[in-house]
Every structure is written in C-alpha cells, then in structure tokens.
Symmetry: C2
C-alpha cells in the first residue's frame, strides 16, 4: 500500500517534493538530533489524490493518518480528545515551494468543551486554557470555515467595551468563556452547524482546508507567474503543540543564524517570554533582543547557539528558525534558509567558502545578481521613514536628494556653486545637458525608459525618474503640483531611480560600496564564466568606471552622445543646417577635432582591450531644437521686430520640418544616414583612426571595432565597410603606422537576423542591439509602449514581463538564434555579442550564454551583475549537461 | 573539333543560347524558307572562350570563321576584299537575351580604298559607294575604335559649312572622299595607326568589339539587375549586305504583323524607298505607311503579307520584322516578338486563341499583369504632348485634370456645381474628406505612399500624386510655385497618379475599358488559378466595383475609413474626448448606428461571399485635429476673447498631446486599442452582427470574418476572441437568428510570424498585412523611407526594388513562410490570405501562390491584375513541376 503519511522521523530534507518544504525540514531536524515536537506529514500526493477524487480525502489516507496519530498518542502519552490528558496539535500547510496564499497555521487543535477543562487542569491555568480554546475557534473559524477575521475581533472588542477593558490581557477565564460562547454562535450563524466538537473531525476539516488552499485564487496566480506546476500539491503538517506561554520559564522567538542585514556571523533575532508565536506577530508586546536570552536563560541560549551552528553546518546556509521554550525546554518549530539583504548575501556566501562550508561555485550561484544591483548605487536607507508624493518610471537607478530647479541654466549655476539640485522638467532635450550634468538627479513628467532624460542619466550613472505623469509642472510659477501638494522651486525632494519614488524632503541614504567580499565573489565568478563582459560607455570617465567594475572592453560606445556636449551641439547644428556638401564638411572638420579627442580618451582608458565604436545612429533632428519651441521663439522675435534672429530661427524651423518624421525610430537614421551623408561617417572613422594611430605611436595597444548600426540588408554593410576600410587605410598611411581593427554591425532589425548569412560576409563581428530588435520584433515603440499600454499589458498578464527589460526568448530570442546560426555558418569565428540593455539583465545574460554569444555588454554599473549572471549561467548549464 | 561558327542554315530558333536571339531567328527564317541574306553566327561559346583565354579570339575559332566565310564567298560569288567583286557584310552582336548596352551594328564591312572603287563600278554609283565607305569608317571608328561619334559629325559639319550645304544629300562623291580623308586622319590621330584596310582584320576587330561589349559597364549593370548570368556571352552575326539604297526599286522598312497599338490583325509599319536602315533612324526623310507599298511594289507587298502570316503561324506571336528591298527583291533582316500596348496585348492573345494559333494557357501567360494596369484607369493619351511641371510619388493610379483648388470646402462647392477640380494641399487630414470626394484628384506636397491622401485616394480609385516636394504652396496667396512657375487657384493642371507627373493644362485622356477580349482572358485565367482573389474595400460602392471586377470576397474592410466621414468624425472625436467610460459609451452608441448601416451595405453588396472586417486599427490621434493647427486656433480665440471656444480647443489640444506618440506606427493602435478600450471593439462587433442578423432575416447569406489587427502575442488574440465571441452570441441571441462567422488575425508583426503556432489556436484565419510587416521587418517607416531614403537606395542599387511595392521574399517572405508552416502545423485547414498592397502586385502574387496561401486581396482596381497574376503563377508552377 502506498504511504501517504510520514512521521517526522521517517522523512529527510531531500523529500521536499513529497513532504513539502516545512515537513521535510522538520524531519531533517529530527534526523540530526534537534529537539522538535513530534508529529507527522500528510504528503503532497495525498493532495493530488484529493483533487483527482472530487475534493475528498480518500479513506485509506484517513486510515493512515489515524494510524500514525495513534503512534503519536502512544509516544506522548496523550490522546486526541481525551478530557483527562488531551493531545493538542498544530496543523500547517507546507508546499514544496514556499508560496504566499497558502493556508495559515491552526494552533491548539484538539480542544473542545471537554478537553479545555483537561488542559486547564493539567496546566493549572484556566485562563490559559480558555484563551487557547478561543484562539483555536478563531483560527479554525477563519481558516477552515471562512468566517471573516474581523467578526471575531468584533466580539472581543464588544466585551472589552462592556467591561471597559483596554487590553486583551485584562480578560479573565470567565470573560474568555463568554467570548467562546459568542464565537460558537457566530459559527452556527455562519455555517448553519455547531462548531465541531470531535477533534478527529476538526483534524480532517483542517486537512481539507489545507488542500483547498492549494487552489485558492492567490495561490493559482502565484503559481502561474512563477511557473510552478499545478500538480505539485501541498502537504499537511500535524505537530504536537508546545506552549511558550506557560510562565516565565517559557517563551517563543525567531532567530537567524547570522545577521541578515550585515551578514556578520552572530545569532540574530528576538523573543518574548511567556508568549505564543502569535503574540510576536500581534505586536502587543515588544520583543527582546535574542542576546538577552544569554542572561535570562543561559542554558537555552547555549543550546540555541549550538543548534545554530549545527543547522548551518548541515544546511550550508544561513537559517531562519522558529523556536519555543516550554518550561525551560527548547523546541524547534521550523527552519528554512533565511532572507537577507544584498550585502549580507554577499558576505555570507564569501564567509562560508572561507569557513569551508560551501565551494566557490556554490557561493557564486547563491547570490542573486538582481539583488546586488542595489549595492552598486547610492540607495535610500531601507529603515528610513519617508513621504512618497509621486511615482514615475524607475529610469536610472540610484537615489539622490536636492533642491527643486526647473531651469537647466539655473541647475548649472547652482550646481557649480556646490548646491545639490534635482532638475525637474516635463522632458529634457539635448539643450538641457549642461543642467543634467550639474544636477544630482532628474525628474520628468513625460517620456519613457528610453526618453532623452533616461538615456542620458543612465549614461552618467545619475538617478532619474521619468514619465511621472501625476506631477504637473508650471514653469512660469516655478512649481509643480502632485495631488493637492505644491512643491516650489528650492524645496527639497529626494528621488529613487530604482523604484520611481519621488519623496518630499531629504531622506537618509547609503553610499554604494563594492565590499572586499563582493570583489572576491566577482573574481570567483570570473573563473567560471564563459561569456566576456563589456560595458556600454561613451566617455573616458565611464570607461574607467567600467574597467574598475571589471569590464573587459567597451561593447558599445555611442558617438552621438559626444555630439550632445554643450560645446559641440552648435557645431553639430551647423553641420545639419549646411546647405551644401562644402558647408557640411567645414562643420565636420570642427567636429573631427572634438571626436578625435573623445576617441583618444576612451581608447586610452581601455588600452589593451577592444572598444566597439558605433557610428552615428539617431536621426539628425534629435540634435535640433523642438519645433513648437521654435514656433514660440519665432512669434517672440516677430513681436520684437528682431529680423535677424527671426530669419535664423525660421531657417532652423524649416530644416526641423524637413527632417521631421512620422516614425523617427524607423526613419532616416543609423547606416541610412551614413549612406546618404557618407561625409559624416567618414569624419567619424577618420577621427577614430587618427586617435588610434596617435596612441599606437605612444606604444599604447588599442583595438577599435567600427560598428555600423541599423543594417537591414547586406548592400548597406558592404558599401559602408568599403568606406571604413578606405578611410582607415588612408589615415594609417598618412600617419605611417598600422593599427589592428575590425568592422562589424549591430543586429537590431528582424531582417538583419534573417539575412545574417549575407551580412556575415561583410562583418567581423555582430552585436545584438536588442532594444531596437525588441521594438521591431514586437512592433512596439518603447517610449510609447511603456507610457501607454505595456504597464496595462503586464498587469493584465497579457505579457508576463516587460520585453525591454527581460529578453523575449520566444520572439526576439528566436531571431537571435537564427542570426547566430546563419552568421557562424558563414564565418565560424564571427565574434557575437549583445549591447542592448538586456546585456546586464541576469535571465537575458543566461540566454546569451545558452545561444553561444561571446560577450554581453551593459552599462558600467551593471558590469558586476553581468559578471555574476554570466558565471551562474555557465555553472547552471554545466550542472544540466 | 567543337563547332564555334554556324551558317544561318545550320541553326534553329531553339538554339538561342548558343546563337543569340538574333542569330537563332535569322536561322529559323531561313529554315522556314524566307528570303534572308546568307551569313553565319559565331557562337556565344566563342565569347566565353574569348574571356577565358585572356580576351583573345582563339586560332581555331578564327580558322572556322574564315572557313565559313569561304563558303559564303563561294555561295555569293563575291570575295571579301576583292576589288573586282567585293563581298560586303554587316556585323552585329546578338546575346541570348535582348540587352541594352551591347554593340551597335556595323554595316558595309569589307570596304577599303580599293573595294570602294569595285563597289562604285558594280553599282555604277560612285556617290553611293563613297557614302557607304564613310559610313563604314564612322561606324567602325565609333564602335570598334571608341572614337566619339561627335568627332565624325564635326568633320561633316565642317565641310557642309565650307560648301554652304544644309543637307548631307548635297554632298557629292568627291565631298565624301574628302570626308573619308579627314575620317582617316581622325582615326590615325586617335589610335596611332592607319584605318585598317585589310577586310579580314576589319572582321576580326569587329568580332572582338562585339565580345568586349559583353563586359561594358552598362551591360554588366543590366545583367546584375536582371539576374542574367555573366557566363552567357554574346554571339556575333556576320551577314551579306543587301542595299535598300540602290534606286527606286529598292527600299527598307519595319513592319509589325498586327497593329501594336490596337491589336487589329493587319500589317502595320513604315518604309522608305531608296534608303538604308540608318536613314529611317536619322529621321531625315519621313517614312511612308506600309500600306502604300501595296500600290508602289505590289509584288513585294504580297510577299510581305505572306511572310507576315507565315511568321505568325510559325512563331505563334505577333512579329516585329526588319526588311530591305534590293532592286525589287525582298530580304528579311530580323524578326522578333513585337512590343505592343496593353490593349493590343490582350486583343492579340485572345484573337490568337480563336485563330487556333495558341492555347488559352498560352494566352493567359502572354499578357503581363503590370502591363494591363493602365487599362483599368483613365490614362493620359500616350501620343499627347505635355508640359510636366513637377513630379511626385505615384500614389494612386489614373489621370485627371481640373482647376486648382486649395480649400476642401471650395472643392466641395465647385465639385457639386459640376466643375472639375484638383485639390492641392500640403497634406490632407480626415477633415478634408468632403473635398477629396468631390475632386477629380489630389496633389500633395508632403507625405508618402501611405499618407492620408494616398490611402484615401486609392480607396476611392481617384488619382493622387503625393509628396511632390518641388511645389511650394501658399494658401494665403492661393497659389503654388514650382521652379519659377506660379500656378494660381483656378488654373488648370493634369495629374498622372501612375507616374507622379504634374502637367500644366488639360491633356487628352483615354477612358478605361474592360474590353470584351479582356473579360474573356480573365475568365480563362479564372479557370487556371488556384488562389482566390478578394478585394480591399471599405464601402458598398467599392464592394460593387470589386465584385464587377471579379472579386470573390472582401479580404480587408477597414472600419476606420468609416470613422472619417464628415458626419461621423465629430462623434468619433466625442468618443475620444470622453473622460469617463459612460461618456465614451454614449458616443459609441451613436457610432453603432452608423457602423451598422455601413456593414449592412457592404455585407449585402457581397452577399454569398466572405467579408473580412478589421476592427479599428489606427491610433486615435489620427481622428483629432493637428496640434499645430490647434495652437494657432487657440491663439486666435485668445486674441478674440472667445473664452468658450478657447477652452474647448485647449481641451482638445490637451487630449491631442496626451495621445501623441513618438512612433505612432508602433504605438497604441490595433488590438492594443481593443484591449485598453474594449468598449470600442465591442461596439464594432455589435454593429457587425446586428447588420449580419438583419440581412440574414431577409434571407441574404452573409459570412462576416472578424479580424483582429496588430497582434504580437497569443494572449492579445485570446482575450479579444473571447470578446468577439461573447458579443456575437449576445447579439444573435437578442436577434433570434444565427449567422456563420469566423474570427482571425492580421499577421503583420515579425513576432506574430514567429509565434504563429500559438496564434493559430485562437484564429480561424490569418491575413498577412504585408505593409506593416515590411515596415517592421525592415525597420522602415514607409512614409519616411519613401520620402527620405528609399529612392536613393533604389537609385544606388542598395535595394533593387521598393519592398513596399514588390514583396521582399528574402526577409518578409521568410517570415511569411514561417507563419504559414507554423499556423498550418497547428490547424491544417487554417485559411491564409494577404491583404497588403502586395496582394495586387504580380510577382508578390506569384510568391503567395508558391507558399500556398488561399487568397490574395487587393484594391478593387487591381482585382483583374491579381486574377491574371494568380493564373500565371499556377500555370508556371505547373510547368515547373
């Protein structure tokens, strides 16, 4: 006969699927000799049968349950339902995977009108016994009979009001008896039958309630999101009650085997003397620091310390335990891996390697890459109290505080004076860069994750909250409103670019730290990973940060950000406004000098490492002022009679209009620009090779990789490859020195993926631009989608993830695989990487490892995440192979 | 020994690859007994050897050539280079495929300082002989020696000036001798050697020149574009000269075996008495109608008629022949299939079936679908002289003339008065529809092939020229400028929407006609095709036109065009401006009544046939006024102090801004709208089924197919399918009648193609929206691409075709195949069609046949084209299988 019920001493931790997490761990603790109250587990298979047999517990399972219960009664010398010496038990759910939505604990099961008296007698405490009984009815009524919790509270409140009591502790045994009577009436009224007095019936009903809770709405949704199979089922744990509320030599508490906040190796937690678990939760009394236990119950504390050591050695991880002390005796009620802060996770993993508890591989696998993001940015102290006044998109991580400023010029001036400011704008444009540079962070009311403000702020590593559409900005009055609140220029706010929170006033913040443990962990990660990790960086400073974070090259250097500097923008505009090729070349000559210095800086900062430089990508109108702004200016100049400026602005407007596009994302940009205006790309290539040659002459090894963006057919790449090669040859000839370089292309258009074999003939490398590839594969404009419908799609589960954050393996990933296969089919040694923002997102990094990319490239601040994620991907695929 | 030289009587028409087209046809004519001057062909294989052996003609080939030449000399009794009785020949290139860029003809080869005298003696005409000689030097000098044509003309002009002659005919034999001396000096100066006097050397040099011309730039480019293999090579034809310039009993001419303009069965052409072929080309004398030959040379005319019949019977196609009459004897110098107008092509194909010359299959294959487009629209008479003043995009085919009007209201008023007007706008918006309706055609200075004007005009079958950016419109002055020309309101212009031409004044036009022959041909096509042909139609009127053209259903009924009617637009705007769901539903209720009538009309017009109705697709802001216009209006109301209107407009502007998107093509549109605002789709579905039920009650069979646009993942389709099903069930329940219907989706996003297996679970049909699919696969915004860079791409051969016109098989086609395979893998009987504009483009239709689609759908006016193209695709694939 199949075994559906296991005594705790028959199980092991490895039987989690059958016994659930809680049951398996209770069994394991007994196995290693820890003091656990005896009990048994009804298996998850019993749950499966419950459902397959029309939501009924089969007779044979009940029989096994009662058989094992008999053993328990013999072991404890107590009997369920015996008025003389009643056995009381707790009933808890326990699924193989910890899952919210599952049933709460029922304590004190076995009590009824008779056994309560037995309990009173055996403990000599009537008040205690009736308090236990009413708690049981309340829990059972709520959890099993579905009576609202508040209805029970109403009854207690009613009697307290009548007695003029303020606290539950004032209620006497008789008061609780009165409460119990009202509770029973409530049950009768609600269910149409008496509160069950038969403890075996109570037990069966509780078991059924556990099984039912497997299919409640919250649990179903949770499983769906987390892809947990519905067939798993939950187990039921039935355990003999121990009481922490039997006097001053009793108590209850929770403890971590290490400090979950810092990771320090010390027992950490809190306890209450003379209390049951619920009392800690209810928050009526303030719990005491676990260390005080050393003085109060030295013996128990010693035991607890030993237990802590034993559990860690056994589980090889920090444990979160629940314990109860009944009349001086320690019992463990639960153990599980403890939750911890990112900093603690890192420290514990590294320390445990040094203590010989785990291997380096285990340490690397144990730290969640997404978890440690917070360690890389200044962050708001999680203990801080704060008034969140608005919420926008978390566009660039990190936190900052400062005085509100609406004008970029003012931001610059104040910033230079050393004042901390937050620049608040409806949206930003290239004209605002100088203000962003000097601000602590940026808040905008419009625009998405790829809006100008977001991209620029991420590039600078500055916090940014975007598209915060609940604030309305009035530039004229110098204020913004959110709800009824008016925030004026000069007021202090804080922003959290990791959550999108906007907070009134200054909140305490914690500076980022790459602790020595973190650095060590990352070095171990480097030993295991196959993927290289590069950074997306546009400035020498970013390059240095990236290198410090362990980047092995630049995977994407966006040259357009160099065009947006305050000193360059007028020259760029001059180039765009040029009406002849000659005029354009004159402006380009000026830009050449700038670009050459840019490239020299970045190539030098990345000496010995490859630097992928993408030629100009965005549509030209991004460098020109906004049409509506121009219209307004023109009106003003007209009114003033300023003919000269009027004409100038009118000409700019004309050009802006000529360049304006219906869908700029899909318009004249990327290599299309390079083909129509080859002189622009030629200037950039010239600057790259002048810089490279000049460094090479100084003995500095450089390897520029020239990248052609937005290619959709091989002829584009062929033509531009020729341009790069001839320009490079010419410069190297002029300079009299040779530099190693390569030429490749972004793969960011579906057609590029489909025709990757053709492209491979003209490319030394591919780099997936998964931002644009996601836009085109889905037909989503990221800015519009994230502002208009993506949040709704995710809320309504039409999409499970934002595909701009987590790479869409089914669609975009399919095209990437196609491109990798076609490309390598033609050119076996083709270097392939990714430089979209997905390059720093762990599950996307894992996918990149799986499809055999050579590297991922991400923002400098995500390089450590990517290193860790890449190592985990390699270790996991090794485990699976 | 391999044979490289074939006498004409050794060849056949089937040997085109070896002998070239011209040589094979000359051989064939000899084979069927026609009078062709003797000669021989040096094969294309000789050309291949010429290239493989370092651009030299091999000795054995020369030997064969001279051997055959010897035969020719024996046959004619003349000898090359013999001063007494010189053999003169022509040398012409002749590739297997007719190809521009190949070498011109050289006549009179064999003449030198001595043989010219022999020719003079034998013809008794010194002037004739020296004229022949100088012509030979000129042709040889130009074609073989690469001396510019103009340099020879200069010499003739010089002597004419000195002699005060006005015409070449005034030059005497002595004058020609002087010219010849100067020609020889020119050759000496240019080549550094004497003009070759040895006729055999002349012959070899001419043959080499023919071979070389295979690899000149123009020929290479032409082959590349037309995918003609470089290995084919060209043949050389050497033929004994006959002279049409030997007196009044001689002559030369060209003739078609049927009228190439109308297709009438009659000999058609022109000739000159006493002339050589060149004289016809030179246009010095006016040729005479071929029919006059009947009187002038009755015998020759009779022969020609007989030849014409024989050739048609033999070639089974209308022939274009060249002939020469030398002293009363007819010689044929060339025959080939004749070019013809579309009307003639249709008539000839159908007539030939009736004459028993060809089969119906052949007739159907013989008419080019693109060619007959012109027959379906009013067109400009090809004979007309006209002044093209500007050129835009050919946005909607057909031609029209009318008075220039800039204001849509005025266009409406004048149109209602019966005046013909052309509406000229920078671009059009939904507000202009009433003007477009009453105009003959539309001309815009901005916007591409999918701009509002283009789409609306195509929908109405009205001519439209778009994006004509060389005209600048001044609404205030009521005029537009193009170059220096000012066209004022009321002036007459004509536009040709098939070419993009804008013409000053009224030009003669030909009305479209679906001749009885055309209808017959299409009926035959219907017998052969596998693909169904449907039409894209949004109104009952369009549906009727489509049905008349043979459409078997509606493949795309765009409901948004129904929203743009002048009576609906305010209601649509009311719906968009609604701030609550209730307000929106109130407006929707009004729209419901409109839509119900729309659908009733279209479903009734297509009774018994399926009608695919696409739910609302475009972003909502397309129904609102333009932001800049609003800003201007607001300024005006502000100035006037009109507070009420001011507030109204400001609110609209606010909404316009809220709805504005960076890339509307990829924004909140299609099914995304339906998911965010289910009440809109629900209204449309309700209207569809109310209409369908009401018709069903009247005994009219209808089959609506509800189509969900812009799906990128299966959950979208799942959710909206549920909405359609429940709404349909509800309406049918209310109405008490059942209607057959189906639900499907547009496939127009790469991700939809990749996940077509998932989509197929929720779709009864797929319809490829290849306009959007091309946009997303290429990352091209059509409007921007066609305005900004596609023309350049095509000019520079980066793309060979506009992928919005000819389906991109390599990229878009790959995704389509993927979708077909995945979709049918899940649902074998899935109906799959195409409704993008490619559905009416012949090569795209062929592709649709190849990948196994069920139907193509195109604009009503292209239905006949699609029928023909579908039949050809089926016949071709049968031939190939």
């Amino acid at each position: 006969m199949k075994k559906y019920v296991f005594k705790f001493n028959e199980g092991r931790a490895s039987m989690k699927n059958l016994l659930g997490g809680k049951g398996a761990n209770l069994a394991e603790m007994i196995h290693i000799g820890l003091p656990v109250p005896p009990g048994f587990t009804v298996t998850t298979e019993a749950c499966t049968r419950y459902y397959s047999e029309g939501e009924k517990i089969a007779e044979d399972i009940l029989q096994q349950t009662f058989d094992v219960l008999g053993d328990l009664e013999r072991e404890t010398g107590k009997t369920l339902g015996s008025p003389g010496n009643p056995l009381l038990v707790s009933v808890r759910s326990g699924a193989p995977v910890s899952m919210p939505g599952m049933m709460d604990t029922i304590l004190n099961l076995g009590l009824n009108d008779e056994t309560v008296e037995g309990l009173a007698r055996s403990t000599g405490d009537r008040r205690f016994a009736y308090d236990c009984y009413r708690r049981f009815i309340q829990m059972f009524g709520n959890v099993v009979l579905n009576i609202e919790h508040g209805r029970f509270e109403d009854i207690i409140n009613d009697i307290k009001r009548r007695r003029s009591f303020t606290s539950d502790t004032e209620l006497s045994a008789e008061d609780w008896q009165e409460v119990i009577k009202s509770y029973k009436d409530l049950v009768m009224k609600h269910t149409g039958r008496e509160f069950p007095q038969d403890p075996r019936e109570q037990l069966v009903m509780a078991m059924e309630a556990v099984f039912r809770s497997w299919n409640n709405h919250r649990a179903i949704v949770y499983r769906k999101i987390n892809k947990i199979p519905d067939e798993l089922g939950t187990a039921v744990n039935v355990q003999v009650m121990v009481f922490g509320n039997m006097g001053e030599d009793s108590g209850t508490g929770v403890a971590f085997t290490r400090n979950p906040s810092t990771g320090e190796k010390e027992i950490y937690g809190e306890f209450l003397i003379n209390a049951q678990g619920e009392d800690v939760v209810a928050g009526i009394r303030t719990p005491r620091n676990i260390k005080e236990l050393a003085a109060l119950m030295p013996d128990v504390y010693r035991q607890l310390t030993a237990v802590s050591d034993l559990l860690e050695k056994h589980y090889k991880d920090m444990q979160d335990i629940e314990f109860t002390v009944e009349k001086g005796k320690l019992y463990l009620l639960q153990t599980r891996n403890g939750k911890r802060t990112a900093a603690a996770a890192v420290k514990i993993a590294v320390d445990m390697v040094k203590e010989g508890l785990i291997s380096k591989e285990e340490a690397v696998l144990r730290v969640s890459p997404e978890h440690v993001v917070s360690l890389l940015h200044r962050r708001i102290d999680s203990e801080a109290r704060m008034e969140v006044i608005a919420k926008g998109l978390p566009a660039s991580p990190g936190a900052a505080w400062g005085h509100v400023v609406f004008d970029p010029d003012e931001a610059e001036t104040l910033g230079q004076q050393g004042r901390k400011v937050i620049l608040v704008r409806t949206e930003t444009t290239p004209d605002d860069i100088h203000g962003i540079v000097m601000a602590q962070g940026v808040l905008t009311s419009r625009g998405g994750m790829t809006s100008h403000a977001a991209v620029v702020a991420r590039g600078m590593g500055k916090p940014c909250v975007c598209g915060c559409d609940t604030i309305s900005i009035d530039y004229e009055k110098g204020e913004f409103k959110t709800g009824d609140l008016v925030v004026k220029k000069g007021d202090v706010i804080s922003i959290d670019g990791s959550t999108g929170n906007v907070i009134l006033g200054k909140v305490p913040m914690i500076d980022p730290d790459l602790s020595s443990e973190f650095r060590e962990l990352l070095e171990w990660a480097d030993e295991f990973r196959v993927l290289s990790v590069r950074a997306n960086a546009d400035t020498p400073e970013d390059a240095r940060i990236a290198r410090d974070f362990g980047a092995e090259g630049i995977g994407l250097c966006r040259t357009e950000h160099m065009f947006m500097g305050q000193d360059r923008l007028p020259v760029v505009q001059e180039m765009i406004m040029a009406e002849t090729k000659e005029e354009r070349e004159k402006a380009l000559a000026k830009l050449l000098a700038f670009q050459r210095r840019d490239f020299e800086g970045i190539l030098e900062a990345m000496r010995d490492l490859p630097v992928t430089i993408r030629l100009l990508d965005p549509p030209l109108h991004e460098f020109l002022p906004d049409a509506e702004e121009l219209i307004q200016e023109i009106a003003e100049f007209k009114a003033k009679g300023d003919a000269e400026n009027l004409k100038k602005k009118q000409e700019i407007l004309k050009r802006v209009r000529a360049l304006s596009e219906f869908n700029p994302m899909l318009g004249l940009r990327g290599c299309r620009l390079g083909i129509l205006y080859p002189e622009i790309y030629e200037m950039q290539v010239r600057a790259i090779f002048m810089a490279a040659c000049s460094l090479a002459k100084r003995g500095i090894r450089v390897h520029p990789e020239v990248e052609i963006p937005l290619v959709s057919n091989a002829n584009e790449l062929k033509q531009l490859r020729e341009l790069v090669e001839s320009t490079a040859a010419q410069v190297m000839n002029d300079e009299g020195i040779k530099v190693e370089y390569s030429i490749g292309t972004m793969i960011e258009i579906p057609r590029a993926c489909i025709t990757a074999d053709e492209l491979a003939h003209f490319a030394d490398f591919f780099s997936f631009g998964t931002n644009d590839l996601t836009q085109t594969t889905y037909g989503f404009s990221r800015d519009d989608a994230e502002a208009k419908f993506l949040p709704y799609y995710i809320n309504r589960k039409i999409l499970t993830e934002d595909p701009f954050i987590v790479l869409d393996r089914r669609g975009v990933g399919h095209l990437m695989k196609t491109a990798v296969n076609l490309g390598r089919g033609v050119k076996e040694n083709l270097t392939i990487g990714i430089c979209g923002e997905h390059g720093g997102e762990p599950s996307s990094v894992e996918f990149c490892h799986e499809i055999g990319l050579d590297y991922v490239s991400c923002s400098p601040y995500r390089v450590p995440i990517a290193r860790l994620a890449a190592a985990q991907a390699a270790l996991k695929s090794e485990q699976n192979s």
